[in-house]
Amino acid sequence: MTGVELILLLPLIVLSGAAVAVMLAIAVRRNYLAAFLLTLLGFVLTIMAVALSPGGPQRNVTALFVFDDFARFFIGLITGAGLFVAVLAFDYFRQQRGQFEEFFIMLLGATFGCAVLVASRHFASLFLGLEILSVSLYAMIAYSRDREISTEAGLKYLILAGVSAAFLVFGMALVYAQTGALEFSRMPYITASPDEPLDIIVLAGFGMIIVGIGFKLALVPFHLWTPDVYQGAPAPVTAFIATASKGAVFALLLRLFAQTDVAFYPPLYVTFVILAIASMLFGSWLALLQNNMKRILAYSSIAHLGFLLVAFMGRGHIQSTAAAFYLTAYFVTTLGAFGIVSLLSPGERDAEWIEDYRGLFWRRPFVAVVFSVMIFSLAGIPLTGGFVGKVLVILAGEQAAQWALVVVLVTASAISLFYYVRVVGIMYMPAEAGGADRPALPGLSLQGGGALACLTGLLVLLGVYPGPFLDLVRDMVTTVYAGVLPR
């Protein structure tokens, strides 16, 4: 292992080191604030390490990892999400009774798993990253131990993630059995020409890998766990599952199918089209009359992953750029939305019912405006990042001549407007007279309000002035195609 490789690995080293450091700090002296600050330091150092590491294409480190610009971008994005979740969790758990220092170890661990995922170029590191992420998530989801629903959610996620991981490993085994390769780059073209049908075992193997990945991304029909787990998990954890966990797996999918063209063999391609259509429509329909904020956001995230798959359906830079941009806007928006749910939660329960938000504008104008911006972005209303993302995705779908997908995307967006606008409408309604029986929502802390303001600013910036960021993403996605020989 050379010095350059160590520097490239630095983000992962810093993240894991931070986790160990927090653990030892707790061993020395149990202090909530200290654990939080150490975690923040870890995240900030990781982002610095990402920023300072040499960029470019094809920065391989051993057979397992690659730290090209693509990986750097997503590690940065995910670490940013982790940082924000840490801020949320600090405020969230502070109101509850119990020991919550270890949560930050889990958070660092989960972020580490995500980082491993996006930097992996090998089935082994893929699986390792996925399991590090999952194991941390089990504990994080069930962290509010005295709440039954939280424990239940953790148990559900444990069992179902186990089932899906079994599919994933089985798929990898089948692919390995047939191609003898575990590195992505060594299996780019399994057949001599794209017209020749793929070997049935390889196809079945990739099909099973899609099942495993589809579970993590909550694509229909592997989505059933989503609302229950989102609802049961503490709100900051939900924010993490919805963003970092999904984003890392999607980035991995992008890399896997940028390096191999297996997704474009007709059977798998059709599979993806069906998954995308089903996710967009079912997600929107399921959210339609939902009264639980966390469940609405869960269903809406199902639909959003469907939208993302539309961008995924073409093998080109436009598509990858659209996907990466959309994913970023989705990160910012979802973090903001769950952030508000988390920051507004009183100690004894989560502010998850839509009734909690009635007349929010009249009580908390700032929070209501921020929430409105987030929801408008989710709905894809202009001047927000979500709008630009949606435009790019539609353009990408149009470039790939996927008209059916584009039509479904537009239909699903129209359906989704119903439940988005409903939430906004409720926030601006006059506060009900007999609302005194509900517990008062806690005030925003300085760091919470500041983080929300940052996210809102970022979102509007992405919607109004996306140019420079778009250029960055465009350059970044080219590196993921590096080293793939043109057919």
Binding site: M1, V20, L24, I26, A27
Partner: protein, 123 residues
Amino acid sequence: MPATVEIAVFWPFFVYFGCVIVLVAGMVGVSYVLGSRHWERATGAPFESGIVTTGSARVGVPANFYLVAMLFVIFDLESVFLFAWAAVVRQVGWTGYVGACVFIVMMAAALVYLWRVGALEGR
């Protein structure tokens, strides 16, 4: 190869499969026909060397017991990785040595943590 050829090649397997079915069916069937049937008070009770059982088998064991057992298994399994290193210690050289050290330090840190939070104390 054509399907007919496959069957021709694999015929011993089919014979073996048939024999197993016949043998198992014979054992169960013969003991069913020959065996005596009785239904008395102690027929359903567990057989413990002729001693009558006292109390339920579902005894509560302190949770700490499981905790220590689990911690043992975890550390045991983790240290198993060192065997893999031991097998190739010369080939992997100093890089492997540093890697193993990091691994051991992490395990030690975890142990320190467990010791400090009191997970090892039998209460």
